[in-house]
Symmetry: C2
Subunit: 556 residues, 2 copies
């Protein structure tokens, strides 16, 4: 069977200028990066302000399982299918991180016959955006320690530095370090650590900024530490915001690439959907809406993490209102949520599918709480039986939702035509009445409790006293109005990754809260979730290499 | 007065395709990065193998001082001037590092009217090569700790891991760290540290590789640690070499840009000239020699560090033989070497200049030891007096060398015409008889002593017993034949940065030796030299930012 890489290599790509032209972008607006990637100039973006807006479609999914659901694949397949049936569609995706790429997950450019290309380049350095984000993060870190080294005029309390360093790599050894060891020339020793770059506040700021000025302003507002006398020290206090903005300037231009079927795709920004908000950049989404009739975008992980943040953080901040929501599932993944072992996925088991549907159903109902019409995309595997599929269809019908079998992985756009028609119909009917889940004026604790209750179906939130005190301090400092970004495991509605299906009555155990004053949200970390992943026993990196012709092999 | 950035911004750049065409590179061979930067495809490089070779001219300098000498500026000015007088010339430079750019030094794209452009982009991320090098370095580091975490099959001795992490930033707080703290999920605590990326072995490997296959092979040979039973553990043992090569694949294509006067310039690779070998990539130099009649290239810091390594490491490894050597100096810098205070540089002081000439004279004589004809480029400042210049000319004449006053900083190519004619004449006369300073079969200690005696004029080398034991081990392991890469301060012939002029009788105090088995040399660190710089009290970063039009300001 052809691998994703085989299919990608066999593809005949169009020059990026031609893809741009299809999307209504003139060649003068492009900064090409090779022949098949381009950044779109910020002048062009400014000129589109005030254009009419297309319809926004969010693709999200059930809680991910080891079986794989194909959320990116469906985003690409749906975009291609919309173009195939004559709707002018664009796709807006996140950029992949090197961490998962060398770890366990592989790339993030879709799969089968629903991919964005050139896959090797997008999965590795692409146009360098993440490297720019990492550099900006670490310049700020270096300037903090350097400030202390040269006399600490601002009175930074080295015990209260909240800014961490970042690297776009899965590297558990850097989670917790002692830095500045080795004596006088190396500075004042202190505890520190690295997050993966996609979990950094710079990534979140990058993705939420509306333009360059907003970017620099948000960077300046980032709070890095407290002083001995209790003041918040910002990146602006350290005079780091200008150089950080300079490092990010070119990166802020959205990246244009193409799908296997020649649809234009903007791939830009890529925060994780746990500690960060998990959606592509506001700049790319807005541009796509100004150029296309329908924009298909994706939020990370399951709908409890990615979609909730897409709606409560990104849409709220950028004034976006989706017209429809696609929830992706597979029969195999539902079986896992229904308690079947991975080895038994090939055997028909309608009862297990029915049990697992509870997970899907809750996500569908959650999306409906935001006022969004939902359609379920069921990605077909050859082992799925008619009875299993019928069980999903019947359960969804009870929720007023259609479940549509999709085969874009094997068939490309043709395999998602029915889904495209359904989405187009929903948009035409104008049924969406989008509202965020909670209001700005609710307390931070109230916001966390609302998400836990309404989305996770938790019985409550446990907040250790020091965490509660920190939340209170954030409110006193004037940050009570911001939304919350809850970081927890993606594998369960709860904070316990082993609780599959649709658990009830669990308690969300808050561990830590962090203020992202530049991004404009409070991160609330629950359970054991890590802001720096580790590599598995056999990292994907071991199989990656060059063949005799210098082509990259082993990427998936 | 116009700043370098003002001049750069006012320039009217030509499309990079036109610059390529001037250099004999067809548009199909280019991978454009924006409009004014391009990578040159490796297929095109392969097709040039066997072409006739142009003449190679090395630009080097006296020991750098706070007054600035203008080595890159002279490299650019000479290249432009050669083209101006009708010689088909190309320039081959190193890429700048973000560390010095945000620290004290500013950019590295020349100055005044002798610059390579676009300066903001070259100085910041350029085409992402350094980010790729950093990522490859740190992937290997993550795979080492991950290997230990999952059972340590290879028996790595955590106390004997020589591989360090890297970051392209001046960050003293990362020089020495304790990593993997925080308990079981984070691995086995150990001592570690970061070097600046330009000092990493991956950078050296990248710059010395002849092609992709050589790159992957060298990466695989990198020794990262010793096992408990004394075996050397390589990147290949960890199966990291393939993924590292994949990360570096696109970066290995040389970058083409242009000077202010439209000369083609390859800017590729950028190791520091202390811990690494300090010259641009072999791939770029060889390509330039295949395309141009004269290639002007530069080695870092003073000739004692950069030129010695260029000749003993790069030329030896790549089979290159320079035809001429240009040593850059200024009257102001010679005054500093002559003991004048920085505040008194504006006052005529022939005696001080004459004392300072000792530094220049020794560098000139050192280059003559390699069989190279030398010409001195004296970069003119308005405060230089005729008597001071005459003193330099007279001293150089005694060494059989011409000292030529240059004004390319103010006048562009026109200001380096006389220098260009002199260089052209030397090439035409075919006077160069290049020989490396020492033979491969000399012992490692013998090589270090030879450089110390012949180039630094040291009375001897002090080698602590553990360092001597390590050198012996390297020889026993079969690495006795490689050249040595001596890391010491750039400010003096000695290891003491305060000993200016031409000190005699000093002792070179070796502190540490490291085997770079992939790059193919032994690094010998002398004195206090750091492999990770720090930021100054007022980092250049503080002044960098964006203006209202989104243009970068404050870069110099």
């Amino acid at each position: 069977m052809a691998t994703d890489l085989d299919i990608a290599r066999a593809a005949k790509l169009l020059p990026i200028q031609e893809i741009a032209s299809r999307a209504g972008i003139p060649a003068e607006a492009l900064e090409p990066y090779g022949r098949y990637k381009a950044k779109i100039g910020l002048d062009f973006l400014r000129a589109q302000e005030g254009n009419r807006q297309g319809a926004l479609v969010l693709v999200t999914g059930i809680n991910p399982t080891a079986a794989g659901e194909g959320k990116t694949t469906t985003t690409v397949g749906l975009g291609d299918a919309l173009n195939r049936i004559g709707t002018r569609a664009m796709i807006a995706l996140r950029e992949p991180s090197l961490g998962p790429c060398f770890g366990v997950k592989g790339g993030a450019t879709g799969g089968g016959y629903a991919q964005v290309l050139p896959m090797e380049e997008i999965n590795l350095h692409f146009t360098g955006d993440f490297h720019a984000i990492t550099a900006a993060n670490n310049l700020l870190a270096a300037m903090i320690d350097n400030h202390i080294y040269w006399g600490n005029e601002l009175g930074i309390d080295a015990r209260r530095i909240s800014w961490r360093r970042a690297i776009d790599m899965n590297d558990r050894a850097l989670r917790s370090i002692n830095a500045a060891l080795g004596g006088v020339p190396n500075g004042f020793p202190r505890e520190d650590g690295f997050d993966i770059s996609v979990a950094s506040e710079v990534m979140a700021v990058f993705c939420l900024s509306k333009d360059l000025a907003d970017l620099q302003d948000r960077l300046g507002r980032i709070i890095v530490a407290q002083s001995r006398d209790g003041r918040s020290i910002t990146a602006r206090d350290l005079k780091a915001d200008g150089a950080m903005a300079a490092l990010l300037r070119d990166a802020l231009s959205p990246n244009l690439v193409q799908t296997l079927e020649g649809s234009p795709a903007l791939v830009h920004g890529g925060p994780f959907a746990n500690i960060a908000h998990g959606c592509n950049s506001v700049m790319a989404t807005r541009l796509a809406l100004q150029l296309a009739d329908v924009v298909v975008t994706e939020a990370g992980f399951g709908a409890d993490l990615g979609a909730e943040k897409f709606l409560d953080i990104k849409c709220r901040s950028a004034g976006l209102a989706p017209s429809a929501c696609v929830v992706v599932a597979t029969v195999r993944a539902l079986k896992l949520h229904g308690g079947v072992a991975k080895s038994a996925l090939g055997t028909e088991d309608v009862a297990a599918v029915t049990r697992g549907i509870a997970n899907l159903a809750r996500h569908v109902q959650n999306m409906q709480k935001f006022g969004l019409p939902v359609v379920v995309a069921l990605n077909k595997f050859t082992t799925d039986t008619d009875a299993e599929v019928a069980a999903v269809r019947a359960a969804m019908a009870k929720l007023g939702t259609e479940a549509i079998l999709c085969t874009h992985w094997a068939d490309g756009a043709a395999g998602a035509e029915e889904l495209a028609h359904a989405v187009k119909r929903i948009i035409a009917e104008g049924r969406a009445k989008f509202e965020p889940l909670y209001n700005d004026h609710l307390s931070l604790t109230g916001k966390i409790e609302t998400v836990a209750r309404e989305i996770y179906h938790a019985a409550g939130v446990s907040i250790p006293p020091p965490v509660a005190a920190k939340l209170k301090k954030f409110e006193e400092a004037g940050f009570g109005h911001v939304p919350v970004c809850i970081a927890k495991t993606q594998y369960s509605f709860s904070a316990d990754p082993t609780l599959m299906g649709a658990p009830e009555g669990h308690i969300l155990p808050l561990r830590e809260v962090r203020l992202s004053a530049g991004a404009g949200f409070v991160v609330a970390i629950a359970g054991d979730v890590m802001t720096m992943p580790g590599l598995p026993r056999r990292p994907a990196a071991e199989a990656i290499g060059l063949d005799a012709a210098g082509r990259i092999e082993g990427l998936f």
